[in-house]
Symmetry: none
Subunit: 190 residues, 4 copies
């Protein structure tokens, strides 16, 4: 029976406080300007308590992600049977999030972390963007659209959609009316 040592147990309150402080500061001031001292101070926690449980700034952010504190929209692709409509709905939701100053800042922070931290980067496509659900939805749509014949490169289509989103965020290009539709058209065809 492992892990039966006595002694105090990790403080869940401190953990939550740190994660919440991280999200707040990330939204307020961006990824640089985010310091561990700042997190600890805002969380009302000793610096050592942070270092005891997380090896790096990016790992805190990774945990925020897993907890769903960073992307407070549900990223699952809907399934009404109409793949065009579903993708458009899904993209519109995401575009809506990226349209807010705060959402865009947080998402860019996320990309900065991904660029820096291998673990976050590797998990970006699947865990973060839930691309899995996108792939699944696309698979189930095979045959229902002319551009989705048997053997269509589903993963690459998913990459293209998510990647376009990422690129827009990095490029600070404002979202406009009809962008979601146009993007869907670009990859699924007219």
């Amino acid at each position: 029976m492992p892990d039966t040592r006595s002694g105090p147990v990790r403080s869940e309150a401190a953990r939550q406080s740190i994660l919440q402080a991280t999200v707040t500061l990330l939204a307020e001031r961006g990824y640089d300007n985010l310091t561990i001292e700042g997190i600890a101070a805002r969380a009302g926690v000793g610096k050592q308590t942070v270092y005891r449980w997380w090896p790096s700034k990016s790992s805190i952010i990774a945990e925020c992600l897993v907890e769903g504190l960073l992307l407070p929209v549900h990223l699952r692709v809907p399934d009404t049977g109409d793949i065009r409509r579903d993708l458009t709905t899904w993209l519109t939701t995401l575009f809506g999030y990226l349209q807010t100053e705060q959402g865009a800042t947080i998402f860019r922070s996320l990309l900065a972390v991904a660029a820096t931290d291998e673990a976050v980067g590797s998990g970006l496509r699947d865990s973060v963007m839930h691309t899995q659900s996108l792939s699944t939805r696309l698979h189930s749509a095979i045959g229902t659209a002319p551009n989705l014949p048997e053997g269509a490169p589903v993963e690459e289509i998913a990459d293209a959609l998510v990647g376009a989103l990422v690129l827009r965020n990095l490029a600070r290009r404002p979202i406009e009316e009809g962008d979601a539709e146009r993007l869907v058209e670009a990859v699924i065809g007219p």
Copy 2:
């Protein structure tokens, strides 16, 4: 009478030395771990000489980009009349660059800068990726493929291609045989 100040002129040697040192350090140790003091030391240059001419770390990197020191592949999309083949060729070249450890590291650094620095971010799609040439090529191909009818969302197609590239780089997904073809198929159709 403009520009009648006296004194010596900006040292081109110092400038080159700084840019080169930046590229070297970026490839060696990544974007974080890149310090201005480190650049100056490696370049054999005083810190002030850096600060005199560049306002920030990211602006040095931006200049490296413009000088073509960072992405030593020519990014222009070829034009043989066959849009599929041209895109595949272009993507294969880029994939080749991102397949090298050094190229992937530099490109990720670039994305980190873009996530952080508004100017670099805004220029990412056009200046960095030369998406303009991609758009132009796609425009000229309208009508030559079933998925590129009149009024096709060319910009979004370009976004999708470049974005997929970016996403792959961030996600550290290794490139495999046929990836370029599949990606082209994903956006241009079968």
Copy 3:
């Protein structure tokens, strides 16, 4: 009905272990570099067990002193009737202790504690150096030496002897042949 509380009694083993660990670490690494965590770890004891019984680091050292763990020489001044010989014998013993690297280090630690901690400082002359026995011996020698007439400033003579010892230890001056004799001559006269 005094002392009828329940529960186990203070562990003598823990107490001894802590005191011994303190002496060891003091001799090994000096007064600074001595930490309570280090003592507890070396003693195989919880930190709280230390804090439960001692208010401060210096009080542990004070207890080591009282237990005779720090100055393992008997400091009582002998009494053969010949005050010169007795003082010389006593000083030679002490010099011998201070000549060892370990003894000198421990004694300096003691002085550092005395400089810092009022209680230890106040007890230094009497409890630590047993100056009381020195005074007594000097008192009993009054009249037996030309420099010890009736009314001789016995306390000051004791101070002078002990003080000279302390000074030598602080000044890291090595002891040489005949030093004990010369010091006795200095205060008792030729």
Copy 4:
């Protein structure tokens, strides 16, 4: 021709500021409770500026000593021809300094440093206490007092006097009327 490098020169203002802050804090709060961060803050100076020029806390104090900022009494033994009177005068001056709360605190700090730092300890007897002048004065007095015959152990007499002073300071024994005289009598005889 050594040391001809260009560039900024060490700031004398910063140096003075640091030394002065050290003295002030030492007198205010004692040797422990003295932190380098505290010194830097009080001096209005970056921490690195302290670390650039001094390897340790004790070395700052040592420099304060050399600058005469710590012991603001002149420690030279006077020479009127009457050795008893001269020693008494000298001791009275020192006792006066040690009688003030601040003087006693600073002097104890000094002893704590000496106990810890080899360099300061080694210099304690001579540089700090100017025992050299005491020895000289005693040498010149040989033959003028019955206890100072030819061949008297002058160094040991000096040790005894200075040591008694040190011991009193460590033991927190208050100075009383006639103490200086009694101490002189103890080592020079009646």
